[in-house]
């Protein structure tokens, strides 16, 4: 290897003065391009506790429905409301929401869509079963009642 010694006197230091700028550029690039899809939950969410919990197998197949008393009671009253994405919807609009969510998936996966129901403990069953009827209507039959692991056993 060393037989062919190069006798070049080229400068071997890489100038690092521009490194911070490069990093900042990367940072800004990611900051601009990343969409932080954080739904603002506008309903109270105290999830029930249960022991027989299963994990979601694939997160991409899951859509969320939030049900609970609105946090801003002066604006929305204190009747439990249904929230999908960032808006309150009526029970009748749940089908439309499910179809929107199904459109996001590829055709083979559409039947496997799982609706994660995040329901506050104080909600009565009436609204929950109304939503379930709509889900049946929309043919989204996999439901996950989101709950927290019960600690005392």
């Amino acid at each position: 290897m060393s037989k062919f010694k190069k006798s070049s006197n080229t400068e071997q230091d890489i100038p690092t003065a521009a490194l911070p700028d490069i990093i900042f550029m990367l940072l800004f690039f990611f900051m601009v391009t990343t969409v932080m899809r954080e739904t603002d939950i506008m309903v109270k969410q105290q999830l029930p506790r249960a022991s027989q919990l299963t994990k979601i197998e694939r997160k991409s197949l899951v859509s969320y429905i939030y049900i609970g008393e609105p946090k801003n009671t002066s604006l929305y009253g204190n009747e439990p409301k249904i929230q999908t994405n960032d808006v309150f919807v009526d029970t009748d609009d749940v089908v439309q929401f499910v179809n929107q969510e199904k459109d996001k998936l590829s055709e083979v996966e559409r039947d496997q869509i799982t609706m994660s129901m995040k329901v506050d403990v104080e909600v009565k069953m009436g609204i929950v079963s109304d939503v379930q009827q709509e889900l049946r209507e929309a043919n989204a039959r996999k439901v996950l009642y989101s709950s927290i692991k019960r600690s005392e056993e």
Binding site: T16, A50, Q52, K59, S116, K124, S129, S147
Partner: protein
């Protein structure tokens, strides 16, 4: 190897490496959402076909374990007011499912597939003729009123699921925790899952409230 002669190694200044690492770290910290979504999974029944009348229920009444909840969160289990804990309810469901009052051929097969510890407990108190015929036949029916709290609904559903999960787990000789953590993408675990569930369907019927 180069002979003896020392050549200065090209050096990249690593002073800002820490900054880079921190930036990356912060970036991932911010964007990662921890998958903490767990819950009780359930499959809703298909939507009713308007052209077909609702299916006739031709199950023998003793094969249905009825749980009713009213608007003031009181339970009616098998037509009697229920005051006991959810743990007791779980045990009752379990005993109901694992009862061989009048087993069919499939029921006898199920019995033969049970491990000996379960056979023993079935032999001790699992032959009541007034309870369910066998695990293949029985159904747990749960009906909540519109005014029932969601908390109670989840509690009862959890108890029923716990009863079934305990049966499945015991059938293949693992703990309930291991049963719940079974990975269905893995062939061996999937096989275990199917073996446990074969012929003991998780028949939970959630009736619509009036």
């Amino acid at each position: 190897m180069p002979r003896g002669k020392k050549r200065p190694l090209p050096e990249v200044s690593s002073g800002s490496m820490a900054d880079i690492a921190f930036l990356l770290l912060i970036f991932f910290l911010v964007t990662t959402t921890i998958a903490n979504d767990k819950g009780i999974a359930m499959l809703l029944p298909p939507k009713p076909d308007p052209n077909e009348p609702p299916p006739e229920v031709n199950k023998n009444d003793k094969n249905i374990f009825k749980i009713l909840a009213n608007s003031s969160d009181q339970l009616l289990v098998e037509d009697e007011p229920y005051k006991k804990s959810m743990d007791e309810l779980k045990k009752e469901v379990k005993e109901f499912v694992l009862n061989f009052g009048d087993p069919t051929e499939e029921g006898i097969q199920v019995y033969n597939s049970l491990p000996s510890s379960m056979k023993a407990s079935v032999n001790r108190f699992g032959k009541r003729p007034d309870s369910s015929d066998d695990p293949t036949e029985c159904v747990v029916s749960f009906k909540a009123a519109r005014g029932t709290s969601y908390e109670l609904y989840i509690d009862v559903l959890d108890a029923i699921n716990a009863a079934y999960n305990e049966i499945y787990a015991e059938r293949v000789g693992i703990t309930v925790e291991e049963w719940l953590a079974l990975d269905k993408d893995d062939d061996i675990q999937k096989d275990m899952y199917n073996r446990a569930r074969s012929n003991i369907p998780r028949a939970i019927s959630i009736a619509e409230p009036d």
